[in-house]
């Protein structure tokens, strides 16, 4: 036993090569030892390796043009290749290149590249517009505050960075360093580039398919938390000319114990509008009013799922119908 203990301790201290000595009292080495040592070795190597991860673009088998072409085709979009290539070039890369050329002694460095700043700003505006339009269409009863919260979540840097990385932009970005912000900006630039090459409808579909779908099966309450629910419910009832909400205990169990549970219903003019549970009456009232509000806003747990197949044309025609 002490032998195995010793080897494992050796391993923990990042020893890569272990000389196996068969101790006197042990007849054989157990069969799990070799694979375990191998795995531990591998892991310790991974942890201790100080080598920088080689960029994919430094490999021999790398062709930037075909990579960019395939990127567009993979997303099933017809990008203008020049614009698409521009979407990957960040201004930091251009300044870096200029500095390098200056250091080499070239006085007027010429870099035949355009950066993607204009595309980013265009993409940001488009993304915000389309996401808001999608949400307003899908969640017509939610107040502006809620729509804003959902839009902020969808267009947040961390969310965009994850999407961008999973679309395969990481290897193609030309920038001095690649962090979440760069990844998110590249996605924005892509949206701008797509709008330049294919127009409104295609750009909207891109935003719908890659950004809006992040809401699939998400608990919307986690994204938008309603502060002081009972007061909000009361003001909602006032605004919509409903009777003032009243709370009633409709069930309780294990009162005066650690495991107490209260079931509270909220009534407006004797109509049950929401019910909730809590370990005390106050919590139960809060959960019940959250339930009631979510029902009014159309974002309850079993709300109608988002329609991710909806097109821009349909929406415009519907708007025209409503206005006409």
């Amino acid at each position: 036993m002490s032998f195995y203990f010793k080897t494992s301790r050796l391993l923990v201290s990042r020893c890569n090569s272990i000389a196996l000595q068969v101790p006197k009292n042990v007849r054989n080495i157990k069969r799990w030892v070799a694979p375990t040592l191998r795995e531990l070795n591998k892991r310790s190597k991974n942890v201790s390796s100080n080598e920088e991860i080689q960029k994919r673009s430094t490999f021999i088998e790398w062709n930037y043009n075909s990579e960019v072409f395939a990127f567009g085709k993979r997303l099933q979009e017809n990008f203008n290749l020049v614009t698409l290539q521009r979407a990957f070039v960040h201004s930091s890369f251009i300044t870096q290149e200029e500095n390098r050329q200056k250091q080499l002694g070239i006085e007027n460095p010429e870099i035949m590249l355009q950066d993607n700043d204009s595309l980013i700003t265009a993409g940001q505006r488009l993304l915000f517009d389309y996401v808001t339009a999608f949400l307003e269409h899908s969640l017509p009863k939610v107040p502006d505050e809620g729509i804003r919260a959902f839009t902020t979540y969808l267009t947040s840097i961390s969310n965009l960075a994850v999407i961008s990385k999973n679309l395969g932009t990481f290897d193609l970005i030309l920038s001095d360093n690649i962090d979440d912000l760069t990844l998110a900006n590249t996605l924005l630039a892509l949206i701008g580039a797509l709008h330049e090459s294919s127009g409104d409808e295609k750009t909207y579909l891109f935003v719908r398919d890659f950004i809006c779908t992040q809401l699939n099966q998400k608990d919307l309450y986690e994204i938008w938390e309603i502060s002081s629910p009972f007061e909000s419910l009361r003001s909602y009832c006032l605004q919509n000319k409903l009777a003032v909400p009243e709370c009633r205990i409709i069930g309780e169990t294990a009162k005066n114990t650690v495991l107490s549970a209260f079931h509270v219903g909220i009534y407006s003019k004797k109509i049950l509008i929401g019910q909730g549970f809590g370990e005390d009456v106050e919590t139960a009232i809060q959960t019940a009013s959250i339930k009631a509000l979510r029902k009014f806003y159309g974002i309850s747990d079993n709300m109608r799922p988002f329609d991710f197949r909806i097109k821009l044309e349909n929406k415009y025609s519907e708007k025209v119908k409503l206005n006409g």
Binding site: F69, A70, R74, L205, D209, D301, N302, F308
Partner: protein, 187 residues
């Protein structure tokens, strides 16, 4: 026996980036075919490159195909996926058809599948649509007004008949049937 499963990771089915909810995206980013130009073990690979590679590249414009000849080495396929996975497969002495099969597999999967044991065949974030059951579900509201201890509600739900009661019942039935018989006789 084999010890290959000792450190096999297990997990649950997931798809990258809600794939398929919007449009479907093939997850194979690039594929590299490495082979030798004159070694026999690369024969199938060379045949594949001569006869099918162009078609494959045309059918899958979203995948970058690299071909890398190298001397006296085993032929190899390396697939790289959008999630960063890299799958390496040895193609020594494989025929053209076998290589086609492996390449199709690499095209249709989301990452390296051999490294994960699935624990479930289903994934959802919405496990209940009609709501989970609680002791308060479908409870009669009238029961809120009951004062406990309540004699009526404290009784067991199912009480079997005792032997005495069964006997009494039998006796009554007998009496009834006898009565009927007598009536019949009287008639």
């Amino acid at each position: 026996m084999s010890n290959s499963h000792l450190f096999l990771k297990s997990g649950f089915p997931r798809a990258p980036l809600q794939n398929g909810v919007g449009r479907y995206i093939c997850q194979l980013q690039r594929i590299t075919l490495k082979f030798c130009k004159n070694n026999g073990s690369s024969r199938g690979m060379r045949e594949f490159i001569e006869k099918q590679l162009i078609d494959f590249a045309k059918e899958n414009p979203g995948t970058v195909v690299y071909v890398k000849p190298r001397r006296h080495r085993t032929p190899v396929i390396v697939a790289e996926y959008l999630n960063g996975d890299r799958e390496w497969h040895n193609c020594r002495n494989l025929s053209k058809e076998e290589i086609t099969q492996w390449i199709t597999l690499m095209k249709t999967q989301n990452g390296s599948s051999s490294s994960l044991r699935l624990r479930k065949m289903w994934h959802t974030d919405m496990p209940s649509i009609q709501g989970p059951w609680t002791p308060f579900t479908l409870k009669n509201p009238a029961s809120n007004l009951v004062i406990f201890p309540n004699e009526e509600l404290s009784k067991p739900l199912d009480v079997e008949k005792s032997a005495t009661e069964k006997l009494i019942e039998l006796f009554r039935e007998q009496r009834l049937s006898e009565g009927k018989l007598e009536e019949n006789r009287g008639n």
